[in-house]
Symmetry: C2
Subunit: 303 residues, 2 copies
């Protein structure tokens, strides 16, 4: 089955203590689509300006990413520029130019409306809801969010939470959303807001997954060198959604475990290079090999 992915498509300028690169493909939907495309066909929804490189459309086509839902409009593509601190754990946004993204209203081509799996990557909750409004009973809806929406459009977000199956958010966002210090309490409380499942990302510390009376915890794949953390969270979420769309018809907790591990594996590759560079030349063999290594590193007892 396919997965519909909606989110931002951007051109990024990223500075780390070691390197700086500009006009890189970025945005939540770009990372998520690349990650998901390893597991299932993707129907991409987003907007780009007339400065957007034609080569990226070719990349998407080569990966079976349907781009009928990508609007090409007059003006400049969304641009983001950020700089990472020495430890790569914190970053500062140097500039944001929404450009064509400012008036983005996701409209689904008729061929997208029956897609079974949906990943609503990080955009305003009202836009995420607008996508759902156009769909015909998707089987499983995954959504990401961020602190900005928790702080500024909480009512929209709360309404959205009642319409989705899995919410993916990071640890600080989970704490902010619930005012709970304990991530265990936070994850369980967020389930009470609507989503049947909640995944909390903890960066270098891995991720937690909450279901009804079910819990799964996994670490992060151990990496000595990280080159660019940008997009790791979107890659994680896109990998999860893509794995589910490609491998599962009715989603159970046990499928979400595997999805989360594949998401972690994809994210671990993502941060090994700038932008989507590592995801562009990654193979399914490499993904499966790392999955197996990661499994061995996490098993309590070896067979």
């Amino acid at each position: 089955m396919s997965v519909l992915i909606v989110g931002s498509i951007a051109l990024d300028t990223v500075k780390t203590p070691v390197e700086e690169h500009s006009d890189l493909l970025g945005g939540s939907a770009s990372y998520a689509a690349a990650a998901a495309s390893f597991f299932s066909p993707v129907k991409l929804v987003g907007v780009v300006g007339d400065d957007f490189p034609e080569s990226e459309f070719e990349f998407w086509k080569s990966r079976k990413v349907d781009i009928e839902g990508v609007q090409r409009v007059e003006g400049k593509t969304f641009r983001w520029s950020g700089e990472y601190a020495w430890d790569l754990n914190t970053r500062e946004t140097r500039s944001v130019a929404l450009n064509v993204f400012e008036r983005f209203k996701p409209t689904l081509p008729p061929s997208y409306r029956k897609t079974d799996f949906v990943f609503l990557a990080n955009i305003a909750p009202s836009l995420q809801a607008h996508v759902l409004d156009q769909m015909e009973r998707p089987r499983f809806v995954v959504a990401d969010t961020m602190d900005l929406w928790i702080e500024t459009t909480r009512a929209d977000l709360d309404a959205l939470l009642r319409r989705i199956d899995l919410l993916i958010l990071n640890d600080s966002e989970a704490r902010e959303m619930t005012k709970e210090t304990s991530l265990i309490k936070a994850g369980r409380r967020i389930r009470g807001f609507g989503p049947r499942f909640v995944a909390i990302k903890k960066g270098e510390h891995g991720a937690l997954l909450f279901g009804e009376n079910e819990f799964f915890s996994c670490g992060a794949y151990p990496l000595e060198d990280i080159h660019d953390p940008t997009g790791a969270g979107d890659t994680f979420a896109g990998g999860m959604a893509g794995y589910l769309a490609g491998n599962v018809s009715t989603v159970h907790f046990t499928d979400l475990r595997k999805a989360m591990i594949y998401g972690s594996v994809l994210a671990s590759f993502c941060v090994e290079a700038f932008s989507l560079e590592r995801l562009r030349n990654l193979s399914m063999e490499e993904i499966n090999e790392r999955y197996e290594t990661f499994k061995l590193m996490s098993q309590f007892e070896l067979a």
Copy 2:
């Protein structure tokens, strides 16, 4: 086989946002011995004053903790008082009175010197070394340390590291010891300082284990309510050392995985009540039940 445990024995006063209790049994050796005693006989080394409650000796005896190595001297027992912040993640030391601990010099009774497993809980590295000097070729030596020794007695600590098999320390200490931000790099570098194995404790995020070309990562057992975090790290380490002494003759990486999980399980019980209260009335059935639950929560794929 038995495990020799040396460290501090204290009477603690602990304040959390909810409760305050005074004159509680505390100290690194007390927690470690209680945890280890579930798996193997313990030979305890420490010092107490004449104010130390007789009932605690009875407790140790009831748990097959040999107290021949606990010196009872004139004066007051080591006292520590601390207060936890609202989130229980940070604490402030309100007062420390070393009392009889100030002149503590661990002397081993002859019956202790051939003990196969040793856990050098958190005391000055020179005292940890002094214990090893009195021993006859122990099979496996585990040591804990803290920021104070990394900052003030680094040469002693470095000398000790070359004589031990497993170093257990927390994430901030690992970063401080190596000046590495990445815990993966830090763990591997510390192996270069001497110990064949390194365990890095990450509190609510679990723990990492490093061997030669081997790595294991486990989360923390998920708890909604923590009552008193005091002693969790000592319980973790004591549980590891006790499990090894009781179950393994030659320690391999796969044994250390299980030891680390048992350590995590013991620590998760420890924080459910003040002081050692939960460890006092804990059963092996409860430990094994939580081990199995924890395993299910961490497995990538269910059988």
